[in-house]
Amino acid sequence: MLRVDVSKQLGEFSLEASFASEGRVTGLFGASGAGKTSLINIIAGLLQPDRGTIAIDGETLDDTATRLHVPAHRRRIGYVFQDARLFPHLDVRGNLDYGRRMNRLADDPAQLKRITDLLDIGHLMDRRPGKLSGGERQRVALGRALLSKPRLLLLDEPLGSLDEGRKVEILPYLVRLRDEAGVPMVYVSHDAAELRQIATQIVLLQRGRVTSIGGVRALTGG
């Protein structure tokens, strides 16, 4: 359960967001430049709010009043970036294993198999990121974030840099993730069609302001 109540000056406009996420996938919907990426960067701990609080499952991660700021590496919040950001000097196996190692988690071969099967990346283990297609890279990025056993998964336009064919290919994986991985997600997108398929709750962001929170029916039109 994520509670957000922050504001931050972002260049020309200010971001003012207050909402609580319920359910499995909270879709953060808005046009480009509406402040979506900045908002999830604040949730992830990569950016600090000017004022406000962020809390997850009752634990406060940010509180400007008490100057509390839990750094990103201690939040256990996974992040799937729009540009995948796989580590080029590690193969797929090394990338997938990175989060587990950094969090000093025990080896879990069953979990690894489950995720690689879910995302269909088992055959790519020895490849380097430079030798993967855009779709494959994004699936590995998803797997990497999941294998760090986060309590919340942030996805910033994960299909944004892919063409239509790849999007159609990957969306089912994301839906499966939602249904089978058991991790709540905050999914950023400017594509309403995408969100209609995956989100269980919508937060609408317009020029830095949350203008509505509701069910998927809040998304009208395309």
């Binding site: 990569l46 950001r85 080029p88 990175y98």
Partner: protein, 231 residues
């Protein structure tokens, strides 16, 4: 006359020892400084940057004399080091290593700084979201990706250290077997009546080492680009 005389051998061995020690000691410090300059902003940053590059532009003899004033037997720091830790630089190969290390430092830091700057900070961010503390991000992401630049810097620094003359001869003089490096040996030999052949042999050795260093440094630099692109 390709045989190297004992004097020449001694000079070569001493040069190799001095340059290796200088490079090995300077490298961790060089990485730390390069990282600071590449990733942090702080008051006095340009002053630090200038200070590091000073040995590149100061006359080497001036650098040597400043070393004498600071680390000589009765120097500001040298006296304390000798009395309390038993470390002596004056007229010893350790002094030659210090002089060479300082002269090589700017050449070491620059490629390392550039290669750290070339590491995509977004990768470091991603590593943070996967639970890596900043020092682990440095060891597992930044440093491995910057490694070819580190190696290029080490090779360049080594080449500079092995050829250093002005600061070394000013600080620790030209004592065969202790502080007579290849360059000082050549210097002495060309002032001796029959020293030309020996001097020439040492010159050839120097040129070979310098060329090997330049080629090696270039090779590492090209590997850096390939590695960053995931190939």
């Amino acid at each position: 006359m390709l045989e190297l005389s004992p004097t020449e051998w001694t000079a070569i061995q001493l040069s190799l020892r001095v340059a290796t020690v200088a490079t090995l000691v300077a490298t961790p410090l060089g990485i730390a400084v390069a990282w600071l300059l590449a990733r942090r902003d702080f008051w006095g940053k340009s002053a630090l940057d200038a200070a590091i590059h000073l040995p590149l532009v100061l006359p080497p003899v001036v650098t040597g004399y400043l070393l004498l004033l600071t680390f000589g037997r009765r120097g500001l720091v040298g006296a304390w080091l000798a009395d309390h830790l038993g470390i002596v630089f004056a007229f010893r190969w350790t002094g030659a290593a210090l002089a060479c290390g300082i002269m090589a430092f700017p050449l070491l830091v620059r490629p390392i700084r550039l290669s750290i700057e070339a590491v995509d900070r977004r990768l470091e961010q991603a590593a943070g979201t996967l639970g890596a503390e900043p020092w682990r991000v440095f060891l597992t992401i930044t440093l491995p990706l910057a490694l070819p630049g580190v190696l290029a810097g080490m090779v360049l620094g080594f080449a500079k250290a092995i050829g250093e003359f002005g600061a070394t001869i000013t600080f620790v003089s030209n004592i065969p077997g202790e502080t007579q490096t290849i360059s000082s040996a050549i210097y002495s030999l060309i002032q001796t009546p029959d020293g030309d052949a020996a001097a020439l042999r040492l010159v050839v050795v120097s040129v070979v080492i310098a060329l090997a260093a330049l080629i090696g440094s270039e090779w590492f630099a090209r590997r850096a680009t390939r590695r960053l692109h995931g190939n």
